[in-house]
């Protein structure tokens, strides 16, 4: 797959504040999550990529230099802002038509694509209403429609599910998930909601203190943190007894539910040994899966923050 974004020693300073400290990365993927705590440099990186601010180093988007080809880049990418970015007194179809025209499409094509984008976003019935009367969910959909109306090759989405109720959030996630196949574009999602990243993204870029701490597929992110000896074991019943039996063999076991437990195998142990332990204890194992690091754990690990210890479940942690 061709690289969407290439960063070579990209640095940006605001006075004495270093917003980006010479970051390097090659970013590609279907849906890419851009993660980082507040002040990590995501906004600055985004502005650099759109060619809106100057920077040191070399940032390329779709092979175009962000320093010299900013307008060309912005013709080929779409941006859905987190905050409202509408024009007063306009309907959704007027706004989207105007957006497409500003992106260089001829008027007739712009109008046609505005209708299509609003259909795609699920606003076909409301597209002639004034946007000021829209609900939060509808406004999010208009923002999405205006971002994709000019047929971008990359879509930058800034907190796309912010403020949405569960149903609207589900609709928005579904739209985003379908978009790469249906619209032929890649997506960069900047969000704080790690479950959204877990569900949507196949690659992540994690930023912290102006540096890119990780860039690559989610599997690679999780593999980095996995010990290779962690498993989730499901039993028919008595997970606590299973934990005791495993502990006697030197494994560290933590009961999650009455029928599942997390197991860190001892040196030299294999999953087959877990089955043996169960057989000896008279317990029935229903499944053994390699333990996956959660997005939150992986994120905190990458940015160097120790995750808070989870509350002990009923039955006691072992």
């Amino acid at each position: 797959m061709a690289e969407l974004i290439t960063l070579e020693r990209v640095a940006k300073r605001y006075g004495n504040v270093i917003a980006l400290q010479g970051v390097d990365a090659s970013i590609t993927g279907r849906i890419i999550g851009l993660l980082g705590p507040n002040g990590a440099g995501k906004s600055t990186l985004l502005k650099c990529l759109l060619g809106l601010i100057g920077h040191e180093g070399n940032a390329r988007v779709l092979g175009l230099s962000a320093l010299t080809d900013g307008p060309l880049i912005r013709d080929r990418v779409g941006y859905m802002p987190e905050s409202d970015a509408f024009l007063g007194g306009m309907s959704a179809v007027e706004l989207c038509t105007y957006a497409a025209e500003l992106s260089g499409l001829p008027r007739s094509e712009a109008m046609q694509r505005a209708h299509a984008a609003l259909y795609y976003a699920g606003l076909e019935d409301k597209r002639y209403q004034n946007i000021e009367g829209y609900s939060t969910g509808m406004k999010q959909k208009v923002k999405l429609a205006q971002a994709l109306v000019h047929d971008p090759e990359i879509l930058f989405l800034d907190e796309p599910t912010n403020g949405l109720d569960p149903r609207s959030r589900e609709e928005m996630l579904q739209l985003i998930d379908e978009m790469p196949e249906r619209r032929g574009c890649s997506i960069v999602v900047s969000t704080h909601l790690l479950p959204d990243v877990d569900r949507l993204c196949d690659a992540v870029v994690i930023m912290h203190q102006g540096a890119i701490k990780f860039s690559g597929p989610i599997e690679a992110l999780r593999a980095t943190g996995a010990t290779g000896r962690g498993y989730v074991v499901e039993v028919k019943e008595h997970a606590d007894r299973m934990a005791d039996a495993l502990a006697r063999r030197g494994a560290a076991a933590k009961v999650k539910t009455p029928v599942s437990l997390m197991v860190e195998l001892a040196e030299g142990m294999t999953p087959r040994d877990v089955l043996g332990v169960a057989r000896t204890a008279g317990l029935q194992v229903r499944g053994i899966e390699v333990e996956q690091e959660s997005m939150e754990q992986a994120f905190l690990r990458v940015i160097g923050v120790t995750p808070p210890a989870p509350a002990a479940p009923a039955g006691g942690a072992r």
């Binding site: 409202d84 509408f86 259909y119 609709e171 196949e181």
Partner: protein, 332 residues
């Protein structure tokens, strides 16, 4: 404007079969046509500004109606008074103006002109009032309104530069103001030419047309750029409109008062309407009695009007450039 032939092609990837209840997209096809050149994007902004003004009756159409009515009234009066002559263009009968009569008796050089000419020189004052009212509904809140609604994020995430935005807005306002100031002046000028009694008079007065165009264009530009500049001062469109109204009405009243009282026409010329009226008189070489102490010269008027233009556009550009991309990525 660059027109392009749009051609479309199937997207590289086939859309998945539509699920029940799935949101449809009317059969998406990748756009492969050419795009409008970057240097012409400001025209899209201009067109939008004009369309926005035209959209609601109270924002612009009402003032166009006023301008049309004023033009018709002026035209009708001109037709009615087509044969009358006047000295200095101030009074039809000397008895109406004893000072003028006294001056004439004392041997002052009278400037005898046709009454219809005075409408060509002086009707700008009427249209200035309508132009000002237009700025209240369509000009003085533009940038503030965009600042408030987050429209700059909308604009600058696209290939629109601050220059394109300001130029587009200015051009849009200019076109709107041109129909209030410039077109009526040209129409009145044409009526005046139509009322010529001889061909020689018609030919001699043909120069009125470019003069009317110049006055109208300068007036439309001054009102457009001044109101645009004031609209960029504060984030609240109501406050910028109120500020502009106060500056124009109260500030103008004070400046004209000081200028006349102190016999310093340059101060009075800071008022846009007064500067335009004076500019018109100077351009047509029309000098009513003893008015050199009241009406400033052409150069002073032009400097004042162009200063309004430059300052207004500079403020708008500075604000737009400073605020431009602030909203982009700001929420993440």
């Amino acid at each position: 404007m660059t027109t392009t032939t749009s051609t479309t092609a199937e997207a590289g990837t086939a859309a998945p079969a539509r699920r029940k209840g799935a949101i449809h997209d009317l059969g998406y096809k990748r756009y492969v046509g050419s795009r409008r050149p970057q240097s012409t994007r400001w025209r899209v902004v201009m067109r939008h500004q004009i369309a926005h003004g035209w959209k609601t009756w109270w924002r612009y159409k009402m003032w166009v109606g006023f301008a049309v009515i004023a033009t018709i009234i002026v035209g009708a009066i001109m037709v009615a008074l087509r044969s009358d002559m006047t000295a200095v263009g101030m009074a039809r009968e000397a008895g109406d103006m004893p000072e003028a009569l006294e001056a004439l008796r004392a041997g002052a050089e009278a400037q005898m002109i046709r009454v219809v000419d005075t409408f060509v020189f002086g009707s700008i004052a009427w249209f200035c009032k309508i132009a000002f009212l237009t700025t209240l509904t369509v000009g003085a809140g533009i940038v503030a309104s965009d600042l408030r609604t987050g429209a700059f994020t909308f604009y600058f995430a696209r290939p629109v530069r601050p220059f394109d935005y300001v130029l587009g807005k200015l051009a849009g306002l200019f076109v709107l103001q041109a129909f209030i100031v410039l077109v009526p002046l040209v129409v009145i000028t044409l009526v005046r030419l139509g009322l010529s009694e001889k061909t020689d008079e018609l030919v001699a007065n043909l120069e009125y047309v470019p003069k009317a165009l110049l006055i109208g264009a300068v007036g439309a530009l001054a009102y457009a750029s001044a109101s645009l500049g004031v609209s960029a001062l504060i984030d609240n469109p109501r406050q910028t409109t109120a500020l502009w109204a106060a500056l124009y009405v109260i500030g103008g009243f004070i400046l004209i008062g000081i200028g006349i009282a102190a016999e310093m026409p340059g101060i009075a010329a800071i008022d846009i309407a007064f500067a335009l009226e004076s500019f018109s008189y100077a351009l047509y070489d029309f000098h009513p009695f003893d008015t050199d102490k009241v009406f400033p010269g052409m150069g002073v008027c032009l400097i004042s009007l162009l200063t309004w233009c430059v300052v207004g556009v500079s403020i708008a550009y500075w604000r737009v450039r400073a605020t431009g991309a602030a909203g982009i990525g700001g929420g993440s």
